[in-house]
Amino acid sequence: MPELNTSSLPDLIFSILFFFMIVTSMREQEVKVQVELPRGTELTKLERKSAITNIYIGTPMNNKESQEAGIQLNDRQLSRREVNNLKAYIVEEKERLGNKAAKMKVALKIDNNIDMGLLSDVKMQLRKAYALQIVYSANEEKANR
């Protein structure tokens, strides 16, 4: 009985491996604020990953004693008092996106315990930067009906 030639099997598997390595995204940025996302059932899946900018709002990890909330956009970190600087960063980010700027979406990853005051300040900054499409990120919870 002729033996099956398996010598190309490793190459095959390697190409699958490379495919996955390219397609799946490693976390590009280090998250420096701790965020516990709310859970929800009525969520929409976001497409077009490349046009999504993440803004994290939560407790800064490097400074846990202070209960003050921190904001992170890419690798920049802001404290609550510096929220007015956010606009410039968003505008910068928008410029970086180039022709995708019109499709820019901002995913707000906000900790459960953040107060609405801060969120409303952040939203005002987003409006001033004309980044009007936002998404409240959440973890999916299976609906039990």
């Binding site: 491996l17 976390r27 459960n112 409303s120 499409q133 990120s137």
Partner: protein
Amino acid sequence: MGKSKRKVPGINASSTADISFILLIFFLVVTSMNSNFGLPVMLPNPPEEKDLQDPPELHERNIMKVYVNMDNEIMVTPGKEAPERYKVEDLSQLRELAKEFIVANTPAGSMNDKYPEAKNKLDTVSYVNEAGVEFFYPAPHSNIVQNNKHVITLQTDRATKYEVYFKVQEALYGAYNDLRAEFAKDVYGDKVLTEDEQELCRRRFVNMISEAQPIEIGKRK
């Protein structure tokens, strides 16, 4: 004893496949597809640039007001002839109230047959009420909105927890989603909907959630 006669022993490569399989599985486990889920919201233009539009004229019974105070308690004024404010204990109750309200204010057949073919997304505009509080509102210029004479306003305190706000938003979104699902079931039965049919269900119950700027009632000590 010539060099040509010496045979190089082949490396047994049969386990390479297993090794690469293990690598593959490792990558599958470690990298997250990291699918993003969330509630999409459209913000209005910045306040100083808004073209001063009159707030949409709505009768009191066509407005459902939802407040969340600094202690994260939810109060609702469901649009009834005699508006009264009462406290909502849990979110499923809020969802049911919202559904009731939306059904009562969305006349059947308001846009079943003639919905605009353009799939324009709803813009959001803002206006300021007499009390100086800014409201976000789906843009009244689109004819989708003009057929829907109702609005759900949501207002929180600056000290309200985000989690509660999110859950309230979700309950309101959920109310619309439930109604669309029911509508779809009535009209199409159990079949899988095409994109156009989905759009039609969406237009049957258009999301009319308006948002007010959080207010500051008092500082918590």
